[in-house]
Every structure is written in structure tokens, then in C-alpha cells.
């Protein structure tokens, strides 16, 4: 794949900067960028998972040192995530055989990004208005206030996360994130973090560490599965992405301290919507070349 080394390093740094800024993995930006650059979606998705492993390892270790990690909750999330990852890698291979992998990836991105982006945009605009009118944004739940799905059977108490909830919705969430992660080459932090914060009301201090722990474990497995099942991991590209990302993230994290929280969520929402729309264009605009060639493995 003749792609400039410096370009990849630069992109890794830029995406790393944004991921450090927003405290998210950055896979959701990097994979689309690689695809827009002309790298086959299969390779982009599989290789990007290596970069996610690296960046999540860094932040999970940091969280471990600050003791901001709930292993019990994390463990359950990992269990669900692994099943999801395996399903994701399997679907990836199936879609590739059917010649519709690109379509599946693009459609999933469009859906996921426009939905999550619009939700975040709505949330941040509302937050902005409440603040403007002098009201305060309430995040803490009232005593006794529980969503009904948290009361399903198999309830477990998570002391560190101050959570007493059924395992079923947690496993479901983890399953979905593992699946989307493996299929789309994203860590899923940008879904997992808001979900833990707003749906399960886990304290902010524990959320990031725990979600990073889950992401390391599931992405590690999907990386290996991708290498075995699809042979789409490019180790050289992975190293370039990791090196660029590591440095970018450090500067991003520093810059992030000067950014106001609501502005920051607003920007992130815009970013998600923009990527989603860019992908939608890919689907709707008539392509210059209607035909494509794929080499099929002879074993059939």
C-alpha cells in the first residue's frame, strides 16, 4: 500500500491530539480517515485496533495507578465485550465474503455517528441554555430514583461504582460495544463512557478507567481474531499509527485542560456528525467507477 509514512504519522498525531483532548480512544476518527485515504476498510479496521490497544493501555495503567478502576464492573464488561468481539469479527469475515463489507462498515458508521452525534449535540445545547438561564445541571440521581431495567434479575452490588444493578443491561451494553468495536475498528469509549455516566450513573472518577480497562481487553482479543480470521492487520501501519497517536495524545491532554466542558462536548458532537455525514456522502453520491475487483481466496 503506497501511502506516505509522514502522512500516517501526522494523522496519528492529529487524531491522538483530539483523542487526548476529549479523553476518547480516537479509533472512531482514525478508521474513517484511513478509509477516506484509500486504505481498504478491512485493513483500516483491523489495524486500527492495534492503535486502540496501545492508547487504552496507557490510560488504563494511569487509572490503575490512581485507583480509579472498578475491576468487578470492568470484568463483567469484558465478559460481555469478548462475546461481542467474537461476533463482530465473525460478521466482518462473513460480510467480506459476500462482497458487502464496505457497505456494512459505511452504513454502521453513518447510523452510529449521526445518532450519537445528534444526541450529544442536543444534550450539550440544552446544557448550554440551562447554564445561561442560571440553572444548574443535575447529574446526581435523586435517592430512590432507578431506571426499571436496572432492577432486572441477577443484581450485583458494585461498591466502587456505587451501583447496585442487574448484570443483564451491563452485559448487553458490553456485547454491543464489543461487536461494534470489532466490526468498525473503534474502541467504543465514546459510547461506553456516556452510557456508564448517564444510564448507570457510575461516578465520573471510575468511569474512564473502567471503560479503558474494558476496551484494552476486548480490543486485544479482536486484534488477534482479526489477524487470524481475516489476516488484515498491517504491523507497519499499526506502529506508525501508535507512535503518532502516543505523542499527539499527550499534547491533546494538556490542551484539554484549557477547554470548557460544555464547549468540549459540543465540539465533539459536531465532529461525530461531520464524520457521519462524510460517510453518508460516500453512500449517496454516484461513484466515478461503478465496478470493483476483489481477489477471492481460492478455498471455497
Amino acid at each position: 500500500m503506497p501511502v506516505s509514512v509522514l502522512l500516517i504519522l501526522g494523522m496519528g498525531a492529529a487524531v491522538g491530539f483530539i483523542s487526548g483532548l476529549f479523553g476518547i480512544g480516537g479509533g472512531f476518527l482514525m478508521t474513517p480517515l484511513l478509509i477516506f485515504l484509500g486504505i481498504p476498510p478491512a485493513v483500516a479496521v483491523a489495524t486500527q485496533s492495534a492503535q486502540i490497544v496501545a492508547s487504552s493501555t496507557t490510560s488504563a495503567l494511569g487509572a490503575l495507578r490512581r485507583k480509579a478502576l472498578d475491576f468487578k464492573l470492568g470484568g463483567i464488561l469484558v465478559a460481555g465485550g469478548l462475546v461481542g468481539s467474537a461476533l463482530g469479527v465473525w460478521s466482518f469475515a462473513a460480510a467480506r465474503r459476500a462482497g458487502q463489507l464496505d457497505l456494512v462498515i459505511v452504513i454502521s458508521y453513518v447510523t452510529l455517528f449521526t445518532v450519537v452525534g445528534s444526541l450529544m449535540l442536543k444534550e450539550s445545547v440544552r446544557e448550554f441554555w440551562t447554564k445561561r438561564k442560571g440553572g444548574s445541571v443535575r447529574l446526581r440521581r435523586k435517592a430512590g430514583e432507578h431506571a426499571s431495567y436496572l432492577g432486572l434479575p441477577l443484581r450485583i452490588r458494585f461498591y466502587r461504582s456505587k451501583l447496585y444493578a442487574s448484570v443483564i443491561p451491563i452485559l448487553g451494553l458490553a456485547l454491543f460495544i464489543g461487536f461494534a468495536g470489532a466490526l468498525l475498528g473503534i474502541g467504543g469509549g465514546f459510547i461506553l463512557v456516556p452510557a456508564l455516566l448517564y444510564v448507570f450513573r457510575v461516578p465520573t472518577g471510575v468511569v474512564v478507567g473502567t471503560s479503558q480497562f474494558q476496551i484494552v481487553c476486548t480490543t486485544l482479543v479482536s486484534l488477534i481474531l482479526h489477524a487470524v480470521a481475516n489476516q488484515a492487520v498491517d504491523i507497519v501501519l499499526a506502529i506508525l499509527l501508535i507512535v503518532g497517536g502516543v505523542f499527539g495524545a499527550q499534547f491533546g491532554a494538556r490542551a484539554g485542560r484549557y477547554l470548557r466542558a460544555e464547549l468540549f462536548r459540543f465540539l465533539l458532537a459536531l465532529l461525530l456528525l461531520a464524520v457521519g455525514l462524510r460517510f453518508a456522502m460516500e453512500l449517496v453520491v454516484e461513484p466515478d467507477e461503478l465496478f470493483s475487483i476483489a481477489v477471492q481466496e481460492a478455498r471455497e
Binding site: 495503567l61 457497505l103 486484534l223 489476516q231 453512500l283 465496478f291 475487483i293 476483489a294
Partner: protein
Amino acid sequence: MRALLGLLLLVLGLGPASAETLITSLSNHRVLINSNYTGTSIAVFGAIERDAQTVARATPYDVVVTVRGPSQYLVVREKEPIGPVWINQEQQKFPTAPSYLSVLTSRPVEEITSPQLRQRQKVGLDAIIGAPDFTNTREGADRPFREALYRLKEEEGLYLEDERGVTFMTPSIFRASIPLPATAPPGNYEVEVLLLADTVILARTTTNFELVKTGFEQQVGEVARDWSLFYGLATALLAVFFGWGANVIFRRD
């Protein structure tokens, strides 16, 4: 009398076919490719020997050099709009398409041969790609897929036809240069040289050369294919190591 004349014509028509001998040689039988390979070319040399009894021909000789790379199982897909969205719909399979195909001739192939001969002997790119056994049978449009295969491969520099690719240095000695772009896959390449005169095939030779990838990239590719679990584990380990390294280096406490 008529029979004799017929026999005479037959002798005249067939006789010369065995009169010429074609001798060809490649400049190289093994092309080594390392990671900074940007493409190269291989030269084909040929000499035409006529035995003593044969008289010189009125028409000049023509040469067609056909090079085929290792074959691949290719699938060509066509995007069609479904509602507002463009989706891969129809597909056509080419089970033994050559990954690389070039036809070099001394003159345009239409001038050298008759349409029947081109079709029967698969002379020229159009004849090779248009051959009935080139693809699996299926219903629906067939031609656009063959054309798309040619067009896409041509853009990559992997399928080409050069009607001035063979040069005669003397009336009986010629040379041709086979261009090999960086995208040419490794494997065995078959070089077929046809000698023609007056739209009749006089002689044919086939030789081979091998394109071998060496160096780091190839080794990585081999490991990824043959030791995929090990390769995956190594990549994972590397990623964790980098992540850990970043954590140690940029520690903020």
C-alpha cells in the same frame, strides 16, 4: 490436375510453416524485488532461422509476445443504486484470470492476424479477455464486466497492450521489453512468443521467469499469512508495550 494443384497449394501453404525456427531468450529468469522496488522490465530477444530450402518471404515477419502472471480468482462487482444508496449488486467471477497480462506486438494485432485466428488462438488482450472460458457462465450482461476488469487492471498497469512493443533490429532479429510495475505480484510468469507472417502462425515458443519478493516486507507478509496467530499476538504485544511505554514516559505524578 486439379487435385495436383490442390496438393501443390497445400504444400505451399503448409510447407513454410515448418521452415522457420524461432529462438527466444529472456534477459533474466528471476526478478528479485525488495521493498524499494518501483518496477522494472525484462527484455525478450528472438531470432528467426530459415532452413536452406525455403525462399525468402514477400511479407515481413510479425511477432506477438504474450506475458501472463500467476492466475488469481477475481470477482468483479458492479454498484447499482437502491433507493438513494449505491450498493454492490451484480458480480461476475473470473476463476483463473492472470494477475498480470501484457501483449506486445510488432504491429497492431488487427493487422497481423485474422479475427478467427485471434479468437481461436487467443491472440491479443481483447481476445484473451473476451474468450468464453475466461469467466464462469452467468445470466445477464457479460461484456461490461470483462471491460471493467480490463479497465481496472489497466489503470493499475497490470494489463496492457503495446502495438509497438516488439522491435525488429534486422529482418530476422527482434527484441521486446516487458514492463513490470511495482504492483506486479510475485510468482511464475509465462512468456509466449508467436511468430507470424501473412496472418499465419509460423512458430511458437514459451519460456518462464519468476518474480520473487525478498526483504522485510515479504517476510512480514509471509509471517502474517502462515503464522497468523503468532503475528496477531506479536502485534498485540507490541501495542501493549507501546501503551505501557507511553504511560511510563509521560507519567504526570
